[in-house]
């Protein structure tokens, strides 16, 4: 496969700042981030000023900027981890990479620093293969290919819209799991990228993702933001909901979603047992959505991502609205997001 060329001007790195002091985070990522433009969005609930080291090309957005752009009356809340979506909205680049501010670059088994941004862009720039599973994983990687029995007509693949990376050290486990296994840390570096097959659902973690904004930008919506949501991943489901919607939309539009490399290293933070004490609304809600996503089919007439989001919102309101009012709110947020995207996002 030919070399993938990464153009600095094609990439925005969006950081949701849930901590005010980003010095360590940005210093660790400097070798990887310094050539790209950064969009740093400060959690509107964060009181302290941000501390950002020198040497980066960065635009910083705070609560007042957010309100100026989107207005104050909105079904969309940008607090906590949802603040990142504002960065997605105002970006003007083709590719967006987003990494949580408690992650640092990982090292592979050879001890070499993983350039997570480069790997994400390679994932996005090479085709995905959702219609048939390749047992040697990504056939476009050097040293790999399609195996015997892979239909030739499917070997061109489709555009990859979303790249979901993984985490060493503190994996993205939910609180009950982490509480049961307090010392479990992920040290297994799985050297693979693979396309998640069409119609297979997956939990997309927002901790380490990248996407083709031109293809699916409007589909990444901060729709399911919980009322009592905290500032720890254990207490959120916004990314999980968003990922299920994006996957359904990608399936409908014949776009690909990849999972696997790159890894980032996720730092220790918080106490799983403490998070257990918060109400488990998010977990309960997720149980309700599985049959919905298993069966949701968007109409043929939905040919753009915006159309798909609107249709998704309709289906959510109709089928899940009666299960819990949170879903009606999510549907409203999705509809509002498309409007916002049209006015702000494509400006």
């Amino acid at each position: 496969m030919s070399q993938v060329i990464i153009n600095d001007n094609e990439v925005d790195i969006v950081i949701g700042a849930l901590h005010s002091d980003l010095t360590n985070f940005m210093t660790e990522w400097k070798p990887v981030f310094s050539r790209f433009h950064l969009i740093i969005v400060k959690d509107p609930d964060l009181k302290e000023d941000l501390k950002i080291p020198e040497g980066f090309s960065a635009d910083v957005y705070t609560k007042s900027e957010i309100e100026r752009v989107v207005g104050s009356s909105t079904a969309i809340r940008f607090s906590g981890y949802a603040c990142r979506y504002f960065g997605f909205l105002v970006s003007k680049k083709k590719y967006v990479v987003c990494i949580d501010d408690d992650c640092v670059p990982a090292k592979d088994d050879a001890g070499i620093l993983v350039d997570a941004v480069a790997q994400h862009i390679v994932n996005l720039k090479t085709p995905a293969t959702p219609f048939f599973f390749n047992t040697l994983y990504d056939p476009f990687r050097k040293g790999a290919d399609f195996v015997r029995g892979y239909p030739f007509s499917l070997r061109n693949g489709v555009d990859c819209a979303l790249s979901c990376g993984l985490w060493l050290n503190l994996a993205d486990l939910d609180a009950p799991t982490q509480a049961l296994k307090p010392s479990q840390r992920n040290s297994r570096y799985v050297d693979a990228v693979l396309t998640v097959p069409v119609r297979a659902m997956l939990p997309v973690s927002g901790i380490n993702i990248a996407f083709n904004r031109e293809l699916v930008g409007p589909a990444l919506v901060p729709a399911l933001v919980l009322a009592g949501e905290g500032k720890l991943r254990w207490e959120t489901v916004e990314d999980i909901w968003c990922g299920l919607c994006v996957k359904a939309i990608c399936d409908h539009l014949s776009l690909g979603v990849k999972s696997g490399l790159p890894y980032v290293s996720r730092a220790e933070r918080g106490n799983a047992i403490e998070s257990l004490k918060k109400e488990w609304k998010g977990v309960k809600l997720m149980e309700e959505v599985v049959p919905f996503f298993q069966s949701v089919r968007l109409p043929q007439s939905a040919t753009t991502t915006e159309d798909c989001v609107i249709e998704m919102a309709k289906a959510v309101k109709e089928q899940l609205g009666k299960v819990d009012p949170m879903f009606s709110q999510a549907a409203a947020a999705m509809e509002e997001w498309v409007k916002l995207w049209k006015s702000v996002g494509s400006a």
């Binding site: 029995g149 007509s153 992920n186 097959p197 659902m201």
Partner: protein
Amino acid sequence: MAATSSKPVPLLKDELDIVIPTIRNLDFLEMWRPFFEQYHLIIVQDGDPTKVIKVPEGFDYELYNRNDINRILGPKASCISFKDSACRCFGYMVSKKKYIYTIDDDCFVAKDPTGHDINALEQHIKNLLSPSTPFFFNTLYDPYRDGADFVRGYPFSLREGVPTAVSHGLWLNIPDYDAPTQLVKPHERNTRFVDAVLTIPKGSLFPMCGMNLAFNRELIGPAMYFGLMGDGQPIGRYDDMWAGWCIKVICDHLGLGVKTGLPYIWHSKASNPFVNLKKEYKGIFWQEEIIPFFQAATLSKDATSVQKCYIELSKQVKEKLGVVDPYFVKLADAMVTWIEAWDEINNSAEEKTTENKTAVAAAK
């Protein structure tokens, strides 16, 4: 990967048969001795039945050549391929065990990145004995492995998983490429050790390779028919793939899981790409019809056993693929013959066992 001692503790040694098709020799077994010695082997000798295949000392085995197959199955032997490793499925049929591991005679013990020998059989057993998760993809791969788990967002209601029917292993060194790819990349070697096992999601098909494969015979055995290949047939090197598409449709229907990934074996022999091209040629075109067929195949609510599923599938093969080429009509009939033979052999299992063993012993 955990280090393995030279004599690993055998798991399921009375519940698993190792099925090996061979036309050459079984020298490769020497390398596998520490891992295979405690298991019963079923050798299916392809090609000239007068040739004597020497089995290394110390292995407990039964061996079947073409004469044995013809004698045991009578006219139904027509469903078993000749001059193709597809004949191995005869071994599945006559086995009395719950689990099968099948391996090619050019596959050797591989080493993991720490330099330790990989006990492929042990990993397959682990894969088969732990559940699969076909209804929702876990981004950390097999959640039941040491050091892994379900990730945040994975529905709790799906965390029990379903029984695993098939464990599909991979290969280092010579990768399982088709002839065109082999011709374009004759020197490519698979050197990437991917430390993962994962469940292939429901609704997704995959190209199954029979070189390093294990399955739960009680759950899926009757669907592991490797088709009509080799001598007198218009196609070769599609045996395992055909079985793979059938078992995946059936597993999806019955709520069983298929895993792929670890273990790796070391595949030493690259077959001749020109010979392969001749065998695969028709398959390359037919595949384009076969895949949509399997992707759209649905089984009725009445198909509650593997045999019923398989018979239903054979009817659909005849109806929908029969128009592509008369080969598929023959294949559909062979699928039915296979099931009939399977049921016959396995329902009068006790009597047949004694008969076979006596015959095999007498033939030696």
